[in-house]
Symmetry: C2
Subunit: 152 residues, 2 copies
């Protein structure tokens, strides 16, 4: 398994955890590519907790950055997310000048990728079948909860 796929497997595990709790299956990890082992690389994990906690700002990526706490090394880190990041999560990544985002898929939802690209963030698309299948399943099972998540 290459490094990107190993990171995405960690993000997908977060999404699966959320799904098992009845929440939106979107997960993220923040990694330090310069660290040694996979365990050392993972700086923070997070998942969408909007259903679980009632917090409308708790998307997967924003939850992950929240869990990363106060730090000054954002510019050296990579955000890995199972789904194309919405405008809130994109804005959060831009605020902290995270230079690279690895995206599991953007078939089930296209976020603010244009804005990220335009502001110099490197986007890497993995087109991951596992991310796609889980998200599609949730959208099919709970269309209302999904629409609420993206302000529709």
């Amino acid at each position: 398994m290459d490094q990107y796929s190993a990171w995405m497997a960690e993000a997908l595990a977060q999404a699966q955890k959320s799904y098992s709790e009845g929440g939106l299956p979107i997960g993220a990890v923040l990694v330090d590519p310069a660290a040694g082992t996979l365990g050392q690389q993972i700086v923070a994990r997070g998942y969408n907790r909007r259903v679980q906690t009632g917090d409308p700002t708790s998307h997967g990526e924003t939850d992950c950055l929240r869990n990363a706490g106060r730090r000054r090394d954002w510019h050296r880190l990579t955000l890995v997310t199972t789904l194309s990041p919405c405008i809130m999560c994109s804005g959060t990544a831009l605020l902290y000048k995270i230079p690279r985002i690895i995206i599991g898929e953007n078939e089930n939802f296209m976020g603010a990728e244009d804005l990220l690209r335009e502001r110099g963030v490197e986007l890497v698309h993995l087109d991951d079948p596992g991310c796609k299948a889980l998200m599609a399943r949730f959208q099919r099972e709970h269309p209302d909860v999904w629409n609420e998540d993206i302000g529709e």
Copy 2:
């Protein structure tokens, strides 16, 4: 006192609360302009809690929207904030399609106003001396904490 100023006084009270706790003096309220009295109009309050809780996503506006909880009426609400909203808070407002933001001041910090305007959000500037003085005071007293807040 006109309506906008009455709302801003509520947002500034949130900022002052944060300052008294040692945090960044940025506050916000979410209001329903169609409701009756001021008390009925205030849907949620919030302030920057990054210093207090260690949560880097807890800017004033995002904290306020978090406190508003899960809802479907964002498109009828107005966000009132003491300081020009950064790209994260702007993204959060855009996600939920909040149509209007009332801004206390943008002298001490200019947020993502271009992005908000470009996407059709109505911005109202109050150029409020109280908001300006409190923010300037914090920036003078704690330049490092301020810079960390905006990803510098």
